[in-house]
């Protein structure tokens, strides 16, 4: 039994996340993303590795999408509608609601702005989304009789989830993108302590450790406030979903606190509609946001209004959210052209911009002029503020998650190669967990857990559950030397060490049966054969204390004599063996299974080895024991042989 992980995308890179995992014969595709950096065939994962004949429905049991970002869902309509995958697709409710917005937006940009041939149509997106089964967090979904999947909260964006998959006794978690610290509107990732064979985790910030985000939020607010106080306009280019809502909450809250009434605008289009979704999906935000919501929805922004193109050159300060995020075209570029030349205005930039976009140019150095195309040049005099908060976990977060889950193996995806290698080394050395960072189209094979099923008898289960008390006495000498710290510790200590102990019986090819030891003979239809040991040997009785008249062993017939002899033996033995329980039964002394009695028969058959009585005062001790105590008994016998059982009178 093994788990195979074929990385089709996001192997040692960021973009087109896609991993196909085979676990006990079931095949799951985690994420089906596209690469934003390529426009040729490299933008999609190479699906031919999954099924050479193109029968994807037969090759894959289900697809799981972690969140609505295009690098995780972008290739899905292509895979289902063009490649022809017909099986089930799972994603959370918010992802199912928001992914089509992202896909449609992307499709429009591709077709309408860049004039490209479209990879999939609007109908394709709609058809694809119809096949999606929405799941709730922690909902245990039985995909088929063997495959079980479950979503856990991942933070990152609304509806982002980590997915747990289990087939038979093997299980794994694919994290998708996640955030281990809560942000303005989303909570931190949350997962149960699971028994995992494999953890596939993102590693965007494999080496970065971030400080508190509050200082960075504050910097942003102060920059915006300063600008509007000076009568300037703030342009916040952003994607419609996620960051826009977070920043808007931040500003709306700040406006309220500072009693500002400068307008905040949303450029028409996605964002207003997106807010509608956010309002209905408020249960997927952080606990803090949920708690404030009783009747007023926090996504009903008080200070936010719709923006109209005619308002671009209206005088007076304002804040504007406009798409797309990296000023790569569209409305944010139009506004940028108008506002950039004035030094009182401010443009904020997201943490990451793809090369080639205006955002990227602004980030690299402080350009005063930006060439848009051959004929157009923009004077850039406005202030630039770069946002530095990210919805991804940092290296510490990844390490915390790996440590918390303690899987048997870790695979890193969604990161940059050198940084991943460093994190891989850290996981292996610090946590001792084997870790892999496969490149695209590489396969990783790890062993999986398997439990052997057996049928247990009731007697076995009972014996496992019955308490097994162990009593131990504290050493007296120890007590004396450690008088102070041993106070409060009782002399007799009781432990309950339950051990599952039994016998496995396999008959032919039938299921193994686990039974109690006592049941075995019944199963074998045999009788028990007990092996006992017996030994009769003389013990020393020195003469000096003997009364002169009693010179024969006859007086041993007297019960009093016998008793006192045995008692003497007992006291000697307990001196020598303080750890064991020695019981006095009058006729004999018992230690575990050993019974020691005074032997009065002349012809005792167990008196082997020819021991003449040494001196008249000696007696024979007859011992009988079971083989389980043989070590102890032989030790005792050798001790007793050296003893002098003379009675102090």
């Amino acid at each position: 039994m093994a788990i195979d992980c074929l990385v089709l995308g996001a192997g040692q890179e960021v973009g087109k996340s896609c991993a196909v995992v085979t676990i006990n014969g079931k095949r799951i595709m985690f994420d089906c993303g596209m690469h934003m950096g390529y426009l040729d065939h490299r933008r999609y994962p190479d699906f031919s590795h999954v099924a050479l004949d193109g029968d994807f429905s037969g090759a894959i049991d289900c697809i799981v999408i972690t969140h609505f970002h295009l690098d995780h869902v972008g290739a899905l309509p292509y895979f289902t509608e063009v490649c022809g995958y017909r099986g089930p697709i799972y994603m959370t409710y918010p992802t199912k609601a928001l992914a089509p917005l992202m896909l449609e937006d992307y499709r429009k940009v591709m077709v309408e702005r860049r004039g490209e041939e479209e990879q999939f149509t609007a109908e394709h997106i709609a058809e694809c989304m119809k096949k999606v089964i929405a799941v709730d967090l922690k909902q245990t979904v039985q995909v088929d009789s063997e495959l079980q999947i479950r979503a856990y909260y991942a933070g990152h964006v609304l509806g982002a989830a980590m997915f747990y998959a289990k087939v038979g006794d093997s299980a794994l978690v694919y994290t998708g993108d996640y955030n281990m610290t809560p942000d303005r509107h989303l909570g931190a990732a949350q997962i149960d302590r699971l028994h995992l064979d494999l953890l596939i985790t993102e590693s965007t910030y494999a080496t970065t450790v971030r400080d508190s985000k509050y200082t960075r939020e504050r910097e942003f607010l102060i920059a915006v406030h300063k600008c509007v106080a000076g009568g300037g306009k703030v342009l916040i280019p952003t994607f419609a979903l996620g960051r826009a809502q977070e920043l808007c909450m931040l500003l709306d809250d700040y406006w309220e606190r500072m009693n500002l009434n400068i307008p905040i605008y949303f450029s028409a289009g996605l964002t207003i509609q997106a807010n509608m979704y956010y309002k209905m999906l408020i249960n997927w935000t952080s606990q803090k946001v949920k708690a404030t919501y009783v009747t007023r929805n926090p996504f009903d922004f008080k200070n936010v209004r719709n923006f109209d193109r005619s308002m671009i050159n209206t005088p007076g300060p304002c804040v504007l959210f406009a798409t797309p995020g990296m000023i790569s075209g569209g409305f944010s570029l139009e506004v940028f052209k108008n506002w950039a030349p004035s030094e009182i205005n401010l443009v904020t930039l997201p943490g990451y911009c793809v090369a080639g976009t205006i955002g990227h140019k602004l980030m690299s150095g402080k350009p005063t002029k930006i060439e848009l195309d051959k004929d157009t040049e923009i004077d850039v005099r406005c202030q630039i503020h770069q946002l530095s908060f990210s919805p991804h976990t940092d290296a510490k977060g990844i390490m915390d998650l790996v440590k918390f889950l303690s899987p048997k193996h870790v695979i890193l995806v969604h990161g940059e190669k050198p940084k991943m290698a460093s994190l891989k080394g850290k996981i292996e050395s610090e946590l001792g967990i084997p870790c892999y960072d496969p490149a695209n189209n590489e396969n990783v094979n790890v062993p999986s857990t398997h439990f052997v099923k057996a049928c247990a008898s009731d007697a076995f289960v009972q014996s496992c559950l019955s308490p097994n008390f162990k009593f131990s006495r504290r050493n007296r000498e120890y007590e004396c030397s450690h008088q102070k710290d041993s106070e409060g510790v009782p002399i007799l200590q009781v432990r309950d060490e339950r051990i599952a102990e039994g016998i496995v019986v396999m008959e032919g090819n039938k299921e193994a049966k686990v039974i109690n030891q006592d049941e075995l003979l019944h199963v074998l239809r045999r009788e028990r054969h007990e092996v006992e040991f017996a030994y009769c040997f003389p013990a020393q009785l020195s003469n000096k204390n003997e009364e002169p008249s009693d010179t024969s062993t006859d007086n041993l017939q007297c019960p009093y004599r016998k008793c006192s002899l045995l008692r003497a033996l007992l006291s000697e033995l307990s001196k020598e063996f303080p750890q064991v329980e020695i019981q006095d039964f009058g006729e004999y002394v018992k230690v575990e299974s050993l019974r020691v009695a005074i032997c009065l028969t002349d012809e005792c058959p167990y008196r082997v080895g020819g021991h003449p009585l040494v001196g008249c005062g000696s007696v024979f001790l007859c011992c009988k024991w079971l083989s389980r105590d043989e070590q102890l008994v032989w030790k005792m016998i050798s001790t007793v042989r050296t003893l002098d059982l003379s009675l102090p009178l």
Binding site: Q139, V452, C455, E507, E532, F533, V608, E630
Partner: protein
């Protein structure tokens, strides 16, 4: 597994209550309140119906005093059934009386399957020693909490009227008082068997009711849809939508030896809540079928139908089609449409409409339907929702797409709100107020109007005041549910002179009769546990499952499901086993040692290196000792000896054979059919002989 039915309930508002015993753990399923019993109390102000009558009453008592010869006889005379017979006191609430026969501190788990199944929970959580784990779906917990808060706020009116509570039991609980109640009311108070007085409780805790609710909400563990909760590693509990109400669920309970499916009232094609997911209940070992809420209605409705059990030839897809066929839902739709048209007719005629219906689903659908009807009839009247929790409730229903039916989920995906009331609220056609005396309500009040408000018992809340206002108006309409005795319920509102029209309606709250057999056929349980009085409806159609009937307050014990228990052994334990083959019996045996751990409702043997070392454990020996083999083996080991014929043994029994060893040193073996005694002076020698004996006997 053992099952005890504590109460069979009374339909939607008072679901049944059961106690399960699984693996030694006690599981209570649902803890409802019988709010219909509130009917015995007078609404406030109690003297409303007629001041005149009050005086008459005083007279008649005086007169009767004179006429009757003895006090005893007078006590036995029932009060006449009129408004004066109602108990004038701060109401108490009727819990499941049989539950109080159990020691509450011994309950391990409580499962709440619907918001109304939660109302009695504060009585448990405040009980001394109660420490059970409570599981409830997130949505049911929220809705249940709102219902409790509403109940407390409505009850507050009584408390203000009657002042602080009497010490000890209230006066109406005294035997004389109870004896004098009209028989119909006595039955409500005491139950048909006259034993239910113990079930009455004062509302949550005075004066800390809000704290009771908070405490109860805090103690409950909220589950997501189909989230598996593991209790003690032994029992896996999973809520599956039942379709009855938002957040309402059936349960699957998996323990190491089997799976139990607990089915309460369920709806296949509801038009508000998430559909009954019966597929998740397939192939369980035990199916507890407690959907009887709508039994009475069904029996009358289906008397004529001669439904036959499905033939074996019918495929499961046929059956599923039958199950999902929306007969009953379209019937429900027709009912709602009829109610709407009645309501619109009433407002057209200048009357007002009072709708004290407690079902969230019905209320939300009526809101949608009535607003559409009003719009199409171009009649503008305001719709009011008056309840202390209405605003929160309406807002909440729009943010739980995970718990609404598929067609409403589609609304989420297309960016529309789940229920139409969101738009109605924005357009101000729907107005929501916390109480009837809210200043804003008084400002906007206008008649005729349509009012949705609690409480359906007609004893609490705004409904009482509005009914008093409109009961004499023949143009007004009361839309009210079946289920309560209307004679008693309408007593305070002068039923004889009541001119207001009353439209009584019943709604589907369970599985319709013709779908019961197909459902069971699809689910394929091994055991089916329905309640006894349904014998004629549920009888086994095939041998594939056996039917055991249960009845109220009797414990039903289920036979063991499987012989032996399932066990999982980890690979590292298996790899350490040393197998031994027993040729003649085709058996392989080995000793197993490890830690038994309960995990994910399975028994698992894990390897543990902390186990005390076991080298002292001797092998288990069996069979008879072959002397010739033993001699050969001993001589191989360099031990020489001979059998001694007819030697005397310690106990003098002659069946023993004695083997004397002389080399390397003297030893003796006494061999019987089931035992062997080894006697040697030398430790080493004793060990060697023992090894020889063990190797000949098959040791394990």
């Amino acid at each position: 597994m053992k099952l005890t039915c504590l109460s069979r309930g009374k339909g939607f508002y008072f679901p049944p209550c059961h106690m399960l015993n699984v693996c030694g753990f006690r599981i209570l399923i649902d803890c409802p309140l019988d709010l219909s019993a509130l009917a015995v109390f007078a609404p406030i102000p109690p003297g409303f119906s007629a001041v005149q009558d009050e005086e008459d009453f005083g007279h008649s008592v005086g007169e009767s005093d004179g006429c009757e010869s003895g006090n005893e006889e007078r006590k036995n005379i029932e009060k006449p059934m009129d408004a004066k017979a109602l108990i004038r006191s701060e109401p108490w609430y009727k819990t499941v009386a049989n539950l109080h026969l159990w020691n509450l501190s011994f309950i391990d788990v409580v499962l709440i399957s619907s918001p109304s199944g939660m109302l009695g929970l504060p009585f448990l959580t405040r009980a001394e020693g109660f420490s059970a784990k409570i599981y409830v779906t997130e949505a049911a917990a929220k809705l249940g909490k709102l219902m409790m808060e509403d109940l407390v706020s409505m009850h507050e009116e009584f408390r203000q009227f009657y002042g602080s509570e009497e010490l000890g039991s209230p006066h109406w609980m005294k035997w004389e008082e109870l004896e004098s109640l009209p028989s119909a009311m006595k039955e409500i108070v005491l139950g048909t068997d006259g034993i239910e007085l113990g079930g009455w409780m004062p509302l949550y805790r005075v004066p800390l009711s809000a704290a009771d609710i908070e405490d109860c909400a805090k103690k409950a563990q909220k589950l997501k849809y189909a989230e598996v909760a593991c209790y003690n590693g032994t029992i896996n509990i999973k809520p599956i939508s039942s379709g009855l109400e938002i957040g309402a669920c059936n349960w699957t309970i998996r323990y190491p030896d089997g799976t139990i499916a607990f089915v309460s009232s369920s709806e296949f094609v509801p038009s508000h809540a998430l559909e009954f997911n019966y597929n998740a209940l397939r192939s369980c070992d035990v199916l507890i079928y407690s959907d009887f809420s709508s039994l009475d209605i069904l029996e009358t409705a289906n008397k004529g139908s001669n439904y036959t059990a499905p033939e074996d030839s019918s495929t499961s897809s046929d059956l599923e089609e039958l199950l999902l066929h929306a007969d009953e839902s379209s019937e429900e739709m027709d009912k709602l449409n009829f109610i709407c048209s009645c309501a619109v007719d009433a407002v057209k005629a200048g009357g007002s409409v009072l709708i004290p219906i407690g079902r969230l689903g019905i209320m939300l659908q009526l809101l949608e339907q009535i607003s559409i009807c009003l719009e199409s009839s171009q009649h503008k009247v305001p719709i009011f929702v008056i309840s202390s929790v209405a605003e929160e409730l309406l807002a909440y229903t729009n943010i739980i797409p995970e718990w609404v039916c598929k067609q409403r989920q589609e609304k989420l995906f297309s960016g529309e709100s789940l229920f139409a009331h969101v738009e109605l609220l924005n357009g101000e056609r729907l107005q929501v107020y916390p109480a009837i005396y809210s200043p804003k309500l008084l400002l906007h009040w206008q008649e005729p109007c349509i009012v949705f408000c609690p409480h359906w018992s007609l004893r609490l809340g705004p409904a009482v005041h509005l009914l008093r206002r409109w009961h004499g108006d023949e143009k007004s309409l009361l839309i009210w549910e079946e289920g309560m005795d209307s004679d008693i319920a309408l007593l305070p509102f002068e039923p004889k002179v009541m001119k207001m029209k009353v439209l009584r309606c019943s709604f589907l709250s369970g599985i319709v009769l013709k779908k019961v057999q197909p459902l069971i056929h699809i689910l394929q349980p091994k055991f089916l546990l329905p309640e006894d009085f349904r014998q004629q409806i549920i009888s086994p159609v095939s041998d594939s499952y056996s039917v055991l009937h249960y009845s109220v307050n009797e414990t039903l014990k289920l036979p063991t499901l499987k012989e032996g228990s399932e066990l999982e052994i980890t690979a590292d334990v298996i790899s350490r086993l040393h197998w031994k083959n027993l040729q003649e019996q085709n058996l392989s045996i080995t000793r197993l040692k490890g830690n038994l751990v309960m995990c994910d409702a399975r028994r698992r043997i894990l390897y543990s290196d902390e186990l005390p070392c076991s080298n002292s454990e001797p092998p288990l020996l069996s069979g008879a000792l072959d002397l010739q083999k033993l001699l050969t083996r001993l001589s191989e080991m360099g031990i020489g000896g001979s059998l001694q014929e007819g030697s005397v043994t310690t106990d003098g029994l002659s069946d023993a054979r004695v083997l004397r060893i002389d080399a390397p040193s003297e030893a003796l073996l006494e061999i019987r059919s089931t035992s062997t005694i080894i006697s040697a002076a030398n430790e080493e020698l004793a060990f060697h002989i023992r090894d020889a004996v063990n190797s000949i006997l098959d040791g394990t």
